[in-house]
Symmetry: C2
Subunit: 410 residues, 2 copies
C-alpha cells in the first residue's frame, strides 16, 4: 500500500506539528474528502495527542458537488448556508486551527454551466469572506495538504491503470512533503530555514519593481513601499509558527495593484473550481487586465475575471526556481498546491495584508491606498519556466538579475 502506515503517520504528525502546530487547548477543524478518511483519522488522533480540546471533521464528496451543479435548481447557486459561514467565523474567533486536505478532480465540472459555478463561487466567497480574510491575515494557523485520489491521479498519469497512477502520484506527494524521510519534522525545519534565508535577502533589497521576460511574457510588476517577502513558516496572530502549504517552495510578496503593465503567458493549466483553464494570456495596463485569451476554458477565465471589480488585478507574486524538487519531477499536477510550487506564479484578486509592513493593522481603505488589492477572489496561476528571466529594479533605478534561465541569479 502507498502510503505505508509509517508514512501516513508521518504525514499526520507533520500536519499537526508543523502544518498548523496545534497548541494545548486549541480547537482544530479538518476538511477532508471522504477518500482521505485514513489520513483524517490519523490527524484527529495526533491533534488530541498534541492537546487539542476538540477536533471537528467535515467530510466532503466531489461527486455530490457534480450532482448539485448538474441537477439543483438555478436559484440555489446564489445562496450559501449561512449557518456554515457563521460556524467557521466562530471557529476563527476561538482561535481554531484549520487543516484542509485538498485533492480536486481537475475534470470534475466538465460540461457544467460556468454560470452556475460562478454564481456558487461568488456566494461562497461572499459568505466566507470573514473566515477567508482571517486566514489570509494569518490570524489563525491553517494548512493545505493533499491526498492522492483516483480521479486526480488519472488526470496526472492518464496512460497508467488506476492503481499504478495512484501509486505514482503518492510517490510524488511523499517526495514533496518529505514524509518518506526518517524525521520529516526536522527536515521541514531545515527547509523553512532555507526559504527564510531567501526571504531575508529579498527584503533587504527593497525592490521598486520586478520585470519578467519569457516566451509570450513581458511584464512589469511594481512593488508597494514597505512590501514584505514571505516564505515557508509564518507566525499567526498568537505568535505560533505554522506552514500554510505543504509542500511549499515559494517566496512571495504583494504587487502594487495599480502598477502592473505588459503581458504574461501561463505555463501550466489552472484548475479553477473544477474547470480547467489552459494556455492563457493576460495583458495588464496600470494594474488591470485589459485583454485576455485562452486555448481552453475561456469562459471560466472570463467568469473569474468578472467575479468582482478587482478580480482583474494582482494580489500576489511568487518566485519558485525551475530547479526545485516538484518542478524537477517534470509532472503537471493540475492541482495548484503542487503546480504553484513548481513554478513562479501570480494570483488574481485579494492581496495578503501580511505582505505589507504593519499590514494586518490597517483598515481596508489604508491597505488599498498603499497598493494592496481587495477582492473576493484569490486565484494562483503559473507563469514560470526554464526560459524565464526576472530582473529587480532597485529604489535608485538600477536593474539587477534575480532569475536567469528559470533559476536564482544570486
Amino acid at each position: 500500500m502507498i502510503p505505508t502506515q509509517q508514512q501516513l503517520e508521518n504525514y499526520a504528525e507533520l500536519i499537526v506539528r508543523v502544518g498548523v502546530n496545534v497548541q494545548e487547548g486549541q480547537k482544530v477543524v479538518v476538511m477532508a474528502p471522504i477518500a482521505a478518511a485514513p489520513l483524517a483519522r490519523q490527524i484527529v488522533s495526533r491533534a488530541y495527542s498534541a492537546g487539542a480540546s476538540d477536533v471537528f471533521v467535515e467530510y466532503n464528496d466531489e461527486q455530490l458537488t457534480r450532482i448539485r451543479f448538474r441537477q439543483a435548481p438555478e436559484e440555489s447557486f446564489s445562496k450559501y448556508p449561512m449557518w456554515r459561514a457563521e460556524a467557521f467565523q466562530g471557529f476563527v474567533a476561538e482561535g481554531a486551527a484549520f487543516i484542509q486536505i485538498y485533492s480536486p478532480d481537475p475534470d470534475l465540472l466538465n460540461g457544467v454551466d460556468p454560470e452556475r459555478v460562478a454564481a456558487s463561487s461568488k456566494a461562497a466567497s461572499t459568505a466566507l469572506a470573514p473566515y477567508r480574510n482571517a486566514l489570509m491575515n494569518h490570524e489563525n494557523a491553517w494548512t493545505l495538504v493533499s491526498w492522492a485520489t483516483a480521479e486526480w491521479a488519472a488526470k496526472v498519469f492518464p496512460d497508467e491503470p488506476s492503481e499504478a497512477a495512484v501509486e505514482k502520484l503518492w510517490e510524488r506527494i511523499i517526495d514533496a512533503t518529505r514524509i518518506g524521510l526518517e524525521d520529516p519534522v526536522e527536515a521541514w525545519r531545515g527547509h523553512n530555514a532555507t526559504l527564510l534565508n531567501m526571504v531575508e535577502r529579498l527584503n533587504a533589497k527593497r525592490y521598486a519593481e520586478l520585470r519578467f521576460t519569457a516566451p509570450g511574457t513581458e511584464l512589469s510588476i511594481g512593488l508597494p513601499e514597505g512590501h514584505l517577502w514571505l516564505g515557508g513558516g509564518k507566525k499567526n496572530g498568537r505568535g505560533v509558527l505554522f506552514n500554510p502549504n505543504m509542500p511549499t517552495e515559494e517566496v512571495f510578496t504583494m504587487p502594487h495593484k495599480d502598477r502592473v503593465n505588459g503581458t504574461v503567458r501561463s505555463t501550466k493549466p489552472l484548475n479553477y473550481s473544477g474547470q480547467l483553464i489552459q494556455n492563457f494570456s493576460l495583458t495588464f495596463k496600470d494594474g488591470k487586465v485589459t485583454e485576455f485569451s485562452a486555448e481552453q476554458g475561456y469562459e471560466a477565465l472570463s467568469k473569474l475575471l468578472a467575479m468582482d471589480e478587482n478580480a482583474v488585478r494582482l494580489g500576489e507574486v511568487a518566485l519558485v526556481p525551475d530547479d526545485s524538487p516538484i518542478s524537477n519531477s517534470g509532472v503537471t499536477f493540475y492541482n495548484t498546491l503542487f503546480d504553484e510550487n513548481a513554478s513562479c506564479h501570480l494570483a488574481l484578486g485579494q492581496a495578503y495584508p501580511v505582505n505589507l509592513e504593519g499590514g494586518t493593522e490597517l483598515s481596508p481603505e489604508e491597505l488599498s491606498s498603499r497598493g494592496a488589492n481587495r477582492s473576493l477572489v484569490h486565484e494562483d496561476f503559473m507563469i514560470g519556466s526554464a526560459e524565464m528571466d526576472i530582473d529587480g529594479v532597485t529604489q535608485d533605478g538600477s536593474v539587477e538579475p534575480i532569475f536567469r534561465g528559470g533559476n536564482w541569479a544570486f
Copy 2:
C-alpha cells in the same frame, strides 16, 4: 456486487418518494456514514429530480467517534457544537426532510468509559431537543434507513469472512426493504395499507390496559385515554405522507407514564450509543423502573436510566408479530431499526405526542397530565418472542387475547 446498481437506485427512489416523500421546493438533509456514499449520491440525485430546492449531506465516520471517546479531554464531552444544533433547528423551521442512513458498529465503543458516552449523549440530547421533538411530533418528514457496513456485518455474521458477511447482510436489507422487487414503491403502498388496517382495528378497541406474559415477563401497561395506535406511513405537519422507518413492521402507541407495573425481560441485545446491553430485566412500579439487572452492559443501562428523571418511564409500546419477515430470518441484527421490527418492543423515555388525540397541539404540561412521558431519551428495547402472549383489557374490564404464541390472535 450487492446491492446491484438497480437495487441501489430502487433504494434511493424508495427513500426519496416513500421515506420522506420529497416535495417541490423542499430542502433535504442527508446524514450518512462515509461507507454509504454510493447511496447518498443516488439519494441526492433523486431528491433533486423530485424537486428538492437544495440537498445538504453530512457525512459521519464512526472511527472518528471512537478516537474522540478515547482521546478527547474529559471536559469536551459535556459540550455540543451549538452551530450544528441551530443549523438543524433552521432546517426544521424551513420544513426540510431528514434522511438518516443508520449503520452503527455494535462494538464501536468497547472499552470506552461509559461516563464519557453518557455525558456526550446528554449534551447532544439537550442541544438537539428542539430538532428531535419536531421529528417526534412528525412536524417534518424524516426517515431512518440502513447500509451494510463491514463492521456491522461482522457482528451479525461473525463466522463469515468479511465480504460474505456483508453480502448476507445486504440480502436481509434487500428483503426487508423490498428493493429487490420490481416496483418497491408500489409494494410499500400495499404494506402500509396492511399496517393501517391493524392500526384501525386497535384504535376501535380503545383498550385501557395491555398485559404481557412470557418467560421472565409479567407486565401490565396502562394506556392513556385518547391514545392512538400508529403504523406504517404517517402524515407530517404539512399533511405529507412519509415513512419514518424502512423497514417497518410495527404498530405502536403510548403507555401511560404512571401505569406500568411488573417485570419485563429483554429478548434481543440493545445497541445503545455503541455499547451493547444484553439479557436485561426491568421491574416497574407505578410507571417507574425500581429494579434492573443485565448480563452485559449493566453500567451502560444504569447510565441510560439515569439520563434524566423520566428515563426510567416508558414512552412507547409496539407490537410486531413473531411471524414477520425480519423475525423469520432468525437473525439478530444488533441494530434497533431491524431488531425492533422483528419483535414487540418498548421504549424508555420520551413519548410521541402523535400517539394521543390532538397531542401535537398540547403543551408539555397538558401532555404530561394526560399520561405522556417527557425525557431527553427515547430508547427502544426488544421484548417479543414466540412465547409471548398479550391481552387487552377493555374499558369495561373484560380481557381479550391480542397475541398468542407471539402472533396476532385476531
